[in-house]
């Protein structure tokens, strides 16, 4: 009886402290939002040239860059995810040779900067041909796609490997004990589950891929950042084109996360939906705290 009251009162104390922490957090987050919002309004009202912002010349140039980036993203995305599946399978291969090659590939492309890889492909590779013989007249975009694919293939490969590792061993055993070959068991039983396990991490990586296209400005791909640099140096006005840049990247990345959310919902089978509900509940709770940290 005594312990019951005790635990009850201490529980109340914890609850009070929790509420206080929460309230402080809300105030801090609110102040932060106000400060950022104020700064933003000030920038938008004093720094942005709205005539320039809406001029068809700028709009057309950003639109061209935007569609080029979308094309590069779609192709590199499809290629890097396909490559990543192969790399993930290589990492779990029973063949020592395949496993080591996959591991070496991941270590190299995850361990060196994407910019370095782009330089190797864009500047280095054409020099391996005798002068003038290089088969691509415009190498920038192919080099960009190859670089993004190889770089992000390594990350996707690790996500897939993690997803495979997270599938309980009993799944493989059950499939094999029904007479399935290892390859069949992987295809029918293990990989579909691994895919779902890896989906969030893959989606995360593909959003990073979108933002990584901004590096392509240094290998002369006329993408969004190149348009910004051009306008900025001609007009000496950074803020106006920056508004365009921000909106365009967010448009791509936010559609991408919608797509990933949709894929995650589609592969949510059975009673796990309840767990997912709980997790997303936790997630929205976490957002409040995120404001304080930012």
């Amino acid at each position: 009886m005594a312990t019951q009251t005790e635990s009850k009162s201490s529980g109340g104390g914890v609850l009070m402290r929790d509420r206080l922490v929460k309230r402080v957090g809300e105030v801090a987050a609110g102040a932060f939002v106000l400060a950022i919002g104020g700064l933003l309004v000030w920038i938008l009202s004093t720094q942005v040239d709205y005539d320039l912002l809406s001029s068809p010349l700028i709009a057309r140039r950003f639109a061209e860059a935007f569609f080029l980036v979308i094309q590069i993203v779609v192709i590199s995305s499809l290629l890097s995810v396909s490559l990543g599946v192969l790399v993930g399978l290589g990492r779990i291969s029973t063949s020592n040779v395949t496993g080591r090659i996959a591991k070496g590939y991941v270590e190299f492309f995850r361990g060196t900067p994407l910019l370095f890889q782009l330089f190797v492909i864009y500047f280095g590779v054409p020099r391996l041909w005798a002068t003038g013989e290089f088969p691509f007249s415009d190498w920038a975009i192919p080099a960009a796609i190859i670089g993004l694919t190889l770089n992000h293939g390594a990350y996707v490969g690790e996500a897939i490997r993690g997803g495979i590792d997270a599938v309980p061993n009993g799944q493989m055993e059950a499939a094999r004990s029904l007479g399935m070959s290892r390859v069949m068991a992987l295809r029918e039983v293990v990989l579909p589950q691994a895919w779902r396990n890896a989906l969030a991490a893959i989606g995360n990586d593909q959003i990073i891929l979108v933002k990584d296209t901004s590096l392509l400005t240094v290998i002369a791909v006329p993408e969004i950042m190149s348009v910004f640099r051009n306008i900025n140096s001609n007009q000496l006005d950074p803020w106006t084109p920056l508004v365009w840049v921000c909106v365009l990247y967010l448009a791509i990345t936010m559609s991408m996360s919608q797509l990933v959310n949709g894929l995650e919902r589609r592969s949510d089978w059975g009673s796990d939906s309840r767990m997912f509900g709980r997790l997303s509940g936790l997630g929205s709770g976490g957002d409040d705290d995120g404001g304080e940290e930012a």
Partner: protein, 242 residues
Amino acid sequence: MTGPLVQFDGVDKSFGDTQVLYDVDVDVDEGEVVVVIGPSGSGKSTLLRCANRLEEIQGGDIRLDGRSVIETDINAIRQQIGMVFQSFNLFPHKTALENVALAPEKVKGAPEAEAKRAAADLLDRVGLADQAESHPGALSGGQQQRVAIARALAMEPRVMLFDEVTSALDPELVGEVLDVIEGLAADGMTMVLVTHEMGFAREVGDRIVLMADGRVVERTETRSFFDEPSTERGQQFLSRLL
């Protein structure tokens, strides 16, 4: 075929330096239900897992219908040996019906409609016709284990292995699974069961194999084992239970 359907012949099994099975001989006749009992760590489950080569043996031989499982194609031999696991291991991304129909479709190449129809019949047999479209995550442990039994039966195996299939279940769910196994026994299915359910062992088993420390210590008719075990080990084991 006059010999036993399944024959463990002097089986030795080690994990690294640790030997877990010593010269194990067990014969299982067609239509017979052999129950393997013994304290934890005595090698019961390992013995089952050796039969369909989830574990490789280091000595002796295991024969199915006179053919060595070691020398036969592993995927072919596994089709003839159904296995049910303690932790069900249903495929969570497939419905109950798809779980049962998958292997006949992919391994035996049965047409989809036919595999699905056979799967529906099997789910009916384990009392789950109404759960055909449910995913495993939506089923109770007892229901999942019954789907797992249907899944193993779908390959029309010659023998079924049950590896402590009720150990992971809540007590009130054990009965429904045991009922299904009893039904199989009544239909004449050859079975090897590892179990801790002594009452059930007594009811459904034709013969009892008592294992301890990786060896078979007693091998006898069920009735005589429970009435008066012939070995001291058997008497000890029973006295601790009763």
